[in-house]
Amino acid sequence: MGSIGAFVLGGYLGPLVIIALNLVGATIAGVAGRLVRVSVLLTLPIAISVVLVSVFTRAGTTVLFTIGPFDATAEGVDFAAQTLVRLLAISLSIGLFGMTTDPRAFVLDLERRRLSPRFAFVALATLEAVPAMVERAGVIQASQRARGLDTEGSLRARVRGVVPLAGPVILSSLTEVEERSLALEVRAFGRPGRRHLLWRNPDSAAQLIARSALLLLLIGSIVGKVTGTFPQTP
């Protein structure tokens, strides 16, 4: 919800509020440090390119400085800053969600609320697939290094190493997906109809209130934006 909110709310205030809320939540959950580190690391590549592009190409009148044919405008800097803040709000929201939610419990709960188990599999398989892929990539890299592929050397050497690394990673990932889905089919995963669930997640009143409040806030902000009732925020 934080991500959608960050999108919807304009200016700086909205996303900053969301960032603040996320950090509060993260501190309560005890993952604040990790969350900030991971979010910053993940957003950095996009952030850099966004900043560069916006600062220099955003149409504007107040030129701050010039590099070659490119003018850095105040409007550009302003836009870049707003986008950065939004990006951070989004990544913090998603990150907090990922770090505090047990994926299996979440997905089971979705199924209880009538979402198909197939969705559950896709969601969880994606989550599980990442560490498996990272491990596989590690083994593949080791195999190629054992044959003299130099991963510690020059940039050119490393570029040449992409195919021997990427190829087997992709292929073995595909094979793994195929094996997994076959094994699930054998266990009647594709059978239409509801299944009886073995247990349900405990749900406290506090959680229910918090969820409803967030949802109302989100709807409120979307409505506000659409109907133009929000004042121009700085």
């Binding site: 299996r104 419990a105 997905v107 089971l108 188990p117 559950a120 599999f121 969880l124 398989a125 599980e128 498996a132 793994e176 094996e179 997994r180 076959l182 094994a183 699930l184 089919e185 054998v186 266990r187 009647a188 995963f189 594709g190 059978r191 109809g193 509801r194 299944r195 009886h196 669930l197 073995l198």
Partner: protein, 274 residues
């Protein structure tokens, strides 16, 4: 009874048929071993017998697969589940990833069948008891040894109470401890009454568990008979299949021209240490 008649199978996009005119019967409660060199068609035979080829794995099937008299052609994969299931060699890819405990992992199959909770629990408990894995029922399925994970996978298949269980090289990726674990479990399974078709390279494993052995080579059935006979058949070696160590040793002793009495005591010793 599971019956393959005149079965040939060609994978989609390939010119050659991997299976050629295969006839194979698996009677209720029978334990049959399937041996053959790599690329002979063992895995394809397992997939076809389980109905997954062509239902899930695209290809052209000629001939018929019949289970208890009913043809399986055109059936969807989930309809096959209560009749025939197949286990694979990789214990990790058979793990669903959506179960927090071994119990839930084993219960997944019955759950998918839409059974009610008491029935799910009953089937799960029975399957775990048969494979003696009750002790690990609350463990995280992702944190088990290869052998244990394979047992969990097999239990998950059994929990669906299929008539026939096919296992495609269950110990191929296991270490000796895991192989022994699964080997013992197979003996338990054999006593349980479900019919089993086990494809394996490790003929030592099949020796003593299977009543019948089928040898396949180049997509065709080369041998099909009582386990003792087939495993001792001299043609096995020519087919690229390694006979059990007991058979190899006895052959080496006999070929060395050791006198009959010594050879006999050696043979007795081999049986004793098995």
């Amino acid at each position: 009874m599971l019956e393959l008649k005149g079965v040939s199978y060609r994978y989609a996009g390939y010119a050659k048929s991997v299976l050629q005119d295969v006839d194979l019967t698996l009677a209720d409660g029978e334990i049959v071993g399937l041996v053959g060199p790599n690329e002979a068609g063992k895995s394809t035979l397992c997939l076809v017998a389980a109905g997954l080829a062509p239902a899930s794995i695209k290809g052209a099937l000629t001939g018929t697969l019949t289970i208890d008299g009913e043809p399986m052609a055109g059936r969807k994969t989930h309809e096959l589940a209560s009749r025939v299931v197949v286990g694979f060699q990789n214990p990790n890819t058979q793990r669903s990833g959506i179960a927090a405990t071994v119990f839930e992992e084993v219960a997944l199959g019955p759950q998918n069948l839409g059974l009610d909770v008491p029935e799910i629990v009953e089937r799960t408990r029975t399957a775990m008891a048969l494979l003696r894995i009750e002790a690990i029922q609350l463990r995280d399925p992702a944190r088990l040894s290869g052998g244990q994970a394979q047992l969990v996978a097999i239990a998950g298949l059994l929990a669906m109470r299929p008539r026939h269980v096919i296992l495609d090289e269950p110990t191929a990726q296991l270490d000796p401890a895991g192989t022994r674990l699964v080997g013992d479990a197979l003996r338990q399974l054999a006593a349980g009454g479900t019919s089993l078709l086990i494809a394996e390279h490790k003929t030592d494993l099949l020796d003593g568990v299977c009543s019948r052995i089928v040898a396949i080579d180049g997509g065709r059935i080369a041998l099909d008979g009582p386990a003792g006979d087939v495993l001792a058949d001299p043609r096995l070696v020519a087919l690229g299949i390694q006979p059990p160590s007991r058979v190899r040793l006895k052959r080496a002793v006999d070929e060395a021209g050791v006198d009959a009495r010594t050879a006999a005591s050696a043979a007795a010793a081999m049986v004793a240490v098995a």
